[in-house]
């Protein structure tokens, strides 16, 4: 049994079929990229994994546990954390507070109306550690809403990591960024993957990023699985070239 096991999921919106019978197996510690042309159903597919949408058919299981009927917040507790295509952070709070909130949640304090004795230092250290890892220490006291696009994205990724997930889902982490920012984010993801052996699934448009990061790649087109394989296999796949790389290149 794979760590993340997606079995034949479909999603229909009325007569529109956004995702049609997609299966995917991701092993522990793997970095998987999901690619595909616009409208391929990637984000819908992501939303089926994270529980934002219920699948019309098929099932998703994490580490052997079937996730049918498990709502997004409970999936997070099972170790699933994600970022969004449009960065979702706490704009009116400082970066440090943005990180501090998920750290406290991960420490099991979500409903604590007081800070338990002895926890304060532990929390503070963990926040500083994450700020440092994400390269955010220099901007820790600025409001998240004022940051550059790249810094906001880094902040969001560190917020997801603060939850100590077993599976990290990144929806187009470099969307809308310049070369420098893209490079920095890719480096950050790579380091996370290498240092913590985190299982990562990411949707990405930028092929340089994909081939740089991914162990394996799944290609979707018009809601259907088109191909799956290592970067080298995908590059060589003619169907993929026809459907995707051809017009992307």
């Amino acid at each position: 049994m794979s760590f993340l096991n997606i079995d034949n999921v479909s999603k229909h919106f009325g007569s529109l079929v956004a995702v049609d019978g997609v299966s995917m197996k991701v092993e522990k510690g793997e970095c998987r990229a999901v690619i595909g042309p616009n409208g391929a159903g990637k984000t819908t597919f992501f939303n089926l994994i994270t529980g934002m949408l219920p699948p019309t058919k098929g099932s998703v299981s994490l580490d052997g546990q079937n996730l049918a009927g498990v709502d997004p917040s409970q999936r997070v507790k099972l170790g699933m954390a994600r970022t969004f295509q449009i960065t979702e952070i706490f704009p009116e709070l400082t970066v440090r507070e943005n990180i501090r909130i998920p750290v406290e949640i991960a420490a099991g304090l979500r409903l604590k109306p007081w800070m338990p004795a002895g926890m304060a230092g532990q929390i503070r250290d963990r926040v500083e550690q994450l700020l440092d890892e994400g390269g955010l220490t220099r901007i820790a006291d600025r409001f998240a809403g004022e940051l550059s696009h790249g810094d906001q994205r880094a902040c969001e990724i560190m917020m997801a990591l603060a939850l100590k997930p077993r599976l990290l889902l990144l929806d187009e982490p470099t969307a809308g960024m310049g070369d420098d920012e893209t490079h920095a984010i890719a480096r950050l993801i790579k380091r996370i993957h290498r240092e913590s052996h985190m299982t990562i699934v990411l949707i990405e448009h930028d092929m340089r990023v994909v081939f740089n990061l991914a162990d394996r790649i799944t290609v979707l087109a018009e809601g259907r699985p088109l191909a799956e394989g290592t970067p080298a296999e995908i590059t060589a796949n003619e169907k993929v070239q026809a459907a995707y790389l051809g017009d992307a290149a």
């Binding site: 009116e92 709070l93 400082t94 507070e97 409001f143």
Partner: protein, 421 residues
Amino acid sequence: MTNDGNSVRFDRRTLLKAGAALGALPLAAPFVQVARAADTIKIGVDNPLTGTYAALGKNEATGMAMAVDEINAKGGILGRKVELAIEDSTSGDAGVAVQKARKLIDRDQVSFIIGNINSALAQAIANVANEKGVIHVVPGGHTDSITGQNCHWNVFRVCNTTQTEANAVAGSVIKSAGKKWYYLTPDYAFGHTLQAGMESAAAKLGGTKVGADLTPLGTTDFSSYLIKAQAANPDAIIILQQGDDGVNVLKQAVQFGLDKKFHLAGAQLELEVLLGLPPEARVGTWVFEWYWNQPNVTGLKEFVAETRKRTGGHVPTARTWFGYASIHTCALAAAQANSLDAVKMAKALQGFKLPPEIALMPDGAYYRAGQNQLIPNLYVGHPQAQGKDDPEDLFVVDQVVKGDDVSPTLEETMCKQDWPA
């Protein structure tokens, strides 16, 4: 409490400024205060200017202003000028009315307080006035308890009790309509006591109740109540709603043709309601507490003329007179007692008869001793669709009733006055 983090974030300068602004607010306001000159006597008015009773409140205010001008023209109270301090009590918020009463008494140091049209507010103000020992005149809140169970030595009332009104009109309704009555009663103290009054008055004359419905204040659609009333097949539908509710229920009853099947009647009716009704809905048998078009009443013509001058040609209503008589009561009490001491003034008013040019009714009016209730004339009659000589002459007086004949006895009122030792 410390403010770490963004959640509860402050800045010192901000708060310094805010604090300064907060402190400066009331400081910037001394001009609000009416001049506290030693040579004026202030009468506080805590009456509605907004909401359902705004129209009635305005008419009472007109009467009060007239009285103040007359008093000042004759040298004021004990040689000092009179001045009104007017506050909007709102039409139904007793919290506001109480707050304003405290403000008038504590801050403006008024010698008298006037109010309120709404019985509940009148009662609430009476409690404050009693606590502070200030003479309080209720111009137009009718609930019996104000000069009954909850009466106070310092609280006087110009308008009638509901029981008096009921006693005045019950005989006429039974004579003209019949003995089986269905009540439509507004659901607040005034309505409850008015219905109880009508029931007890009717019972003495052999009248019976075939049904009753309580309608909440502010009801707009009375059709469901009217359907029930007609199904009970009474001789008369007794409509006890006042103000806007009274307009709505009468308008709808007449649209449904109920005035042709049954007799529509009630107790208290006011000129303000008649003016708001289309001509065809001006029907029924009612009692007026005061009417402007009466023959041979001393000073009435002058009073009407003066009101017209002040209101752009409108005639005085009972409300105008309530306001007028309230203010004069204050001045007369001070003159009679030759003092502004509340207890002395209250004693001076026991059994006091209003002079005819202020009573403005055929048999005059006096404050009944031991109850502080004014006992005036009442006017039983019926409305007319169009005034003959004046568009606002909408009521025909069939019978002038003496207050003494229809008022409950002092024992019946259950008033026990609480004079200070």
